[in-house]
């Protein structure tokens, strides 16, 4: 088996707050293979966006390693990092906030070329922008348009084009479709999947929507309060969810079929507890209907139940 493209080892990111350390990402281990997609799922505040940003070094890490093609990029200096930016890109959640409103469509797509491909002439850049707009399905008549003149779907296409400008190998997609309408959401998801097939891209796809992640991912990692609590190939996770939180998450999704109403399904009680100085032990214990004494007090390790399926739970494994 080839070495993974991206490997995250014991990555931690704590934010200092007046009330103590906020454990946004706490000892996460992941790997993403060339040409594959890892879905990262969790609710708001579970640290999934921080994880993506820490991997791309948009926020400084606290400890741990991120290996990209075998090298630890967290030790890179500014110059090395600038070169690496070409290989790692990001698609942002909010197609309204992630585009500078004062730039035209072509200026936005051109920006990474201007920064990282200094040797490119103006004409070459223009040609490349045109190519990119074709690739993501933006009509040429929008070159001079401003983001606010376009709808959400087209804006997200600009964001995708910008991410593709430097021919990256790896893209972190941070909830790229959650701000879009369903019919547009499907267009963008198809685009993201087509690009992967054509260019052999690897994705880390961050989302709160399990139904989206099922479509797009090869593997899924479920995050809860900064920790990865279950990690498995997509089919395996949906067929055999083991952790009570994963099960609750799956049960909570409203299914568009009135015969499957959730009247009899279990609804998980309570809310996500504070990520500031969390207690030792299972962080889901406070909401877990099965939690016992053994779940508290000591850290719980991810263990492999079946080939490729990892779970951090004392009760079910």
């Amino acid at each position: 088996m080839p070495a993974p493209l991206v490997e995250v080892k014991h990555l931690k990111k704590y934010f200092k707050t007046p009330r103590g350390d906020l454990h946004a990402v706490d000892d996460v281990n992941l790997s993403i293979n060339q040409g594959e997609t890892l879905g990262v799922v969790g609710e708001s505040g579970c640290g999934k966006s921080t994880l993506g940003r820490t991997i791309l070094r948009l926020v400084p890490h606290t400890s741990g390693e991120v290996l990209f093609e075998g090298k630890n990029i967290l030790s890179y200096d500014t110059r090395q990092m600038k070169a690496l930016r070409q290989d790692m890109q990001m698609i942002f959640q909010d197609p309204y906030a992630s585009l500078d409103t004062r730039f035209t469509v072509s200026q936005i797509i051109e920006e990474p070329l201007k920064i990282c491909r200094k040797e490119m002439g103006k004409a070459d850049r223009e040609k490349r922008v045109k190519e990119l707009m074709d690739t993501v399905g933006l009509a040429q008549r929008f070159v001079n348009a401003y983001p606010h003149e376009l709808d959400g779907g087209r804006r997200q296409r600009i964001g995708v084009a910008r991410a593709l400008a430097l021919n990256p190998k790896f893209i972190v997609c941070d909830e790229p479709v959650s701000a879009l309408d369903v019919s547009i959401q499907a267009q963008i998801l198809n685009l993201i999947m087509d690009l992967q097939e054509d260019m052999g891209l690897s994705y880390m796809f961050i989302t709160h929507d399990l139904s989206v992640v099922k479509h797009i991912s090869n593997n899924i990692a479920v995050l809860y309060l900064g920790q990865c609590i279950e990690h498995a190939p997509t089919e395996e996770l949906f067929a055999n969810p083991i952790h009570p939180y994963t099960k609750a998450l799956l049960a909570a999704i409203p299914i568009p079929d009135p015969s499957k109403r959730s009247e009899d399904r279990e609804i998980i009680r309570g809310e996500v507890t504070s990520p500031i100085n969390p207690p030792q032990g299972c962080r889901f214990a406070a909401r877990c209907p099965y939690a016992g004494d053994e779940c508290r007090g000591k850290p719980i390790e991810l263990k492999e139940t079946r080939p490729g399926h990892f779970v951090a739970c004392m009760k079910f494994f």
Binding site: L99, T101, F103, Q107, G159, R162
Partner: protein, 293 residues
Amino acid sequence: MKRSSTGEIKRRGQLASVVHRFMKNRLSVCGLVILLALAIFSCSADLFFDYNAQAIAQNAQARFIAPFSEGHIFGTDQYGRDMFIRIVYGGRISLVVGFFTAGFALVFGTIIGAAAGYFGGRVDNLLMRFMDVFLAIPAMLLAICIVAALGGGLVNLLLANGIAQVPRYARIVRASVMGLKNSEFVEAARACGSGHTRIIFSHIIPNALGSLIVQVTLTMASAILSVASLSFLGLGIAPPTPEWGSMLSTGKEFMRQAPHLIIVPGLAIMLSVLSFNLIGDGLRDALDPRLKN
């Protein structure tokens, strides 16, 4: 939309699109035309008038002539000098003072404020406490101190006025930069590999300019008047050099018998401030493509 010969849509650069949008705003173009006319006329005044004979020399026979009579369209002042010619020559100093004070404060205030807001922490503390010290001293007093220390003259006057305004600009810029630096589009720029300078100058400052431009137009007007106050204290432009602010303040004494002595320089200040204002508004709209096209 412009199309080139190949039938493709021509891309427009950032500057070109700003100019294009500015030109669409009739009122601001109007302001620009007025200001340019004032400036050009003041600068080329020597072609039409004789500074020493017509703007400086006193003429006791022709004092307080009302406007539009005896060949003086704006009348004459208490020493019999032609108001029109003095206004034209006065524009040289007043326009320069207004423009450069605001420009100086804008450039330095923006740099300091942007650095403080963007980098935060120690840089922020150091720069802003320094600015606070300046803010604690009344602007006029500060200007007096600077002029007194450096000596009079136009350049020192400009510096004094400019420095006194910098803290205000720094505060305004810092506040908007702090809000903007965490926005997603700035993060997106970082993900593309942009350095700090590029992020500050091409993403953050253009987005923070809106609130500044209003301040700029206010500064221009107050700078013209504060030069007059400094002149009055003997620290600014010495008489008989014509300058709108001092014309206004000396004219005050003769307000009842010859109101045109304050109306004329007052109108000149008003007109230039108004055109600054119109240009400022137009610039703000032109820099922000979201507001009307």
